[in-house]
């Protein structure tokens, strides 16, 4: 709409500026007014058309540059969420003997997934128009250049779109390391993540975001699932896979009898704050442009995080009589997770509501639910990402508004608040698909990894700590 407006203004200016040109033309026969004289000369009309064409190109280029600037910044912000954001957040939560091992897992994924992305990853997520998974159209980044891919983002170079989506593929598997923390082999982690990225992430990303995907909301999906920035693709898949990993691997030695408090909440604090800031790139960047939709998603993201930080803290205060720093930052992350699918569909007040619900719900999942079932999700990847992603995806179906994002066309209801309660059903289909895919895929992959490299370190290695036994280093060399 905005582009049209600019174009109209340009045409108007041109027509006005063209008038004097006509009046300057020497009157052919001054006294006689023939119909021929009032018509524009063919030369002038051609000049106007050319000028219009040039202006159109310039307006397009200006918009493209503006969008591209924001998208490049967003891509960098999303990378910052993995390293240092998640690395610090998780790094502080483990015991000091495992700090490098957990940080190294995040960092290794920044490298590993990037290489896979260039080889086949991008293509498997965004190539072709299949229902379940992409094709090899863009394998080795063939044909991915500065020309936009109009199916996804018509105003930015496809290179930008490609590298932006890559950052999502990096952080998603990194989230799983929160459940396997302090006991998974490094070799096993690398193999697991490679397979997981290909077997679970790529199909889910294509189904939800890819053209023709089974769950795609704007490009011809069968069950249009609203997922603005990755509630299902990123958080449910990683969170549910994390739970499967935790159940498969079993508890850490000494859990739950032995105390395993976070070794440095200061690190976690810095990490959580970096995650919060980086999330603006994650959610507002998912507008794939720098217009009003990006602003809307930016605001919703911030409000969701703030509300959830408050509700987690409030729940904790009621329960324990104190509000902890770890509770506040965990709440903020839970809110950010829950608002992720909704960010570009809901108004600020709905964002506050989603945040409040998510903070309290994730608090319950992490403290009560986990204790009832006794699984060792070491850093609560499931309790925060799996649970937060699920509740967020569901509430997106309730709160989505056509005034924020008319994804089904102008005047067509989007979510429950618009009267389209069927969307909640669509969301459930999407959630169910993500859960089933994550559970089955992860279980099969764990079996394979167990047979090839092994999944878990030995008991001695675990007791001594993974930093020394797997990496030959220590995070804190106090004698040095």
């Amino acid at each position: 709409m905005k582009r049209m407006g600019i174009l109209c203004c340009c045409i108007l200016t041109l027509v006005l500026s063209a008038l004097p040109i006509r009046s300057q033309q020497p009157p052919a026969s001054s006294q006689v007014t023939s119909p021929a004289a009032s018509a524009p000369s063919p030369d002038a009309a051609k000049a106007v058309a050319e000028k219009l064409n040039q202006l159109d190109q310039r307006v397009t280029a200006a918009q493209s540059n503006a969008d591209n600037a924001w998208m490049l910044v967003s891509a960098a912000l999303v990378l910052m969420m993995t390293g240092p954001g998640l690395a610090l957040f998780y790094g502080g939560l483990v015991r000091h003997k495992n700090v490098l091992a957990i940080m190294m897992q995040s960092f290794a994924l920044m490298a590993l997934i990037t290489v896979l992305w260039a080889l086949v990853g991008y293509s498997l997520c965004f190539g072709g128009d299949g229902h379940w998974i992409g094709n090899f159209q863009f394998a080795l980044l063939r044909g991915v250049g500065v020309t936009p891919n109009a199916d996804y983002a018509a105003t930015i170079p496809q290179l930008t779109f490609m590298v932006y989506q890559l950052m999502f593929a990096v952080i998603t598997p990194a989230l799983i390391t929160g459940a396997t923390a302090e006991r998974m082999k490094f070799s096993g982690t690398l193999l697991f993540m490679t397979l997981w990225f290909l077997i679970v992430y790529a199909p889910m990303a294509h189904m939800v975001w890819g053209k023709g995907g089974f769950l795609n909301a704007s490009l011809g999906g069968r069950f249009p699932t609203l997922d603005f920035a990755g509630g299902t693709v990123v958080h449910i898949t990683s969170g549910v896979s994390a739970l499967v990993c935790a159940l498969y691997m079993g508890k850490r030695v000494g859990y739950p009898k032995q105390p395993m408090p976070p070794h440095s909440l200061v690190l976690s604090f810095i990490g959580a704050c970096l995650l919060w800031v980086g999330w603006f790139g994650f959610n507002a960047g998912s507008a794939l442009s720098s217009g009003g939709l990006a602003s809307s998603a930016f605001v919703a993201t911030h409000f969701g995080a703030a509300a959830a930080a408050m509700s987690w803290s409030a729940a904790e205060w009621l329960k324990n009589g104190r509000a902890s720093a770890l509770g506040a930052i965990s709440g903020a992350v839970a809110g950010l997770v829950a608002i992720t699918p909704a960010a570009g569909f809901v108004d600020p007040l709905s964002a506050l509501g989603i945040g409040f619900v998510a903070g309290a719900f994730c608090y319950w999942m992490v403290t009560k639910f986990k204790a009832i079932f006794g699984y060792d999700d070491a850093l609560d990847a499931f309790g925060v990402h799996g649970a937060g992603g699920t509740i967020g995806a569901l509430l997106t179906g309730v709160c989505a508004r056509m005034v924020i994002n008319p994804i089904y066309g102008d005047g067509k209801a989007v979510g429950g608040f618009d009267g389209h309660w069927g969307q909640v059903g669509n969301q459930l289909v999407g959630i169910l698909m993500a859960w089933v895919f994550a559970i089955v895929g992860t279980f099969v992959i764990l079996k394979i990894v167990d047979a090839v490299t092994g999944v878990r370190v030995t008991e001695e290695q675990e007791i001594q700590g993974l930093d020394i036994t797997l990496h030959g280093e220590e995070g804190y060399n106090l004698e040095a």
Binding site: P256, P259, P261, R322, L326, S330, V366, T367, K368, K370
Partner: protein, 112 residues
């Protein structure tokens, strides 16, 4: 020769050290230790998991003194380390048979 081992609150350490200096005692060995007597620890909660921390940080002072200084030193420590609350610590006294200065192998009270 007597050895004084005093386990005190970390918050009182500076004033104990200053008070000992004032009465002319300038040699001591200090260790950061953890422990508890009658004072119970505290509870920490991380995401709903409760940990009872019952070993609390303390400072241990070790001094070996000639007999004539021992009483004054003990009084000084008592006065400067006391807050009146549970957890103030303890003082242990024991006989020391011999002291040797490593630099010149001097023995007895002269080595202190």
């Amino acid at each position: 020769m007597m050895k004084i081992e005093a386990i005190i609150q970390p918050s009182r350490f500076e004033s104990v050290k200053d008070a000992l200096l004032e009465i002319g005692i300038d040699g001591m060995t200090v260790t950061e230790v953890r422990g508890h007597g009658r004072q119970k620890g505290h509870t920490e909660v991380y995401r709903g998991r409760e940990y009872t921390v019952d070993l609390l940080p303390k400072i241990k002072l070790e001094l070996v003194l000639p007999d004539n200084l021992v009483n004054r030193a003990v009084e000084t420590i008592l006065k400067s380390a006391k807050t009146g609350k549970i957890g103030d610590g303890k003082i242990f006294l024991s006989r020391v048979d011999e002291a040797i200065r490593i630099r010149n192998e001097e023995r007895g009270e002269g080595a202190l």
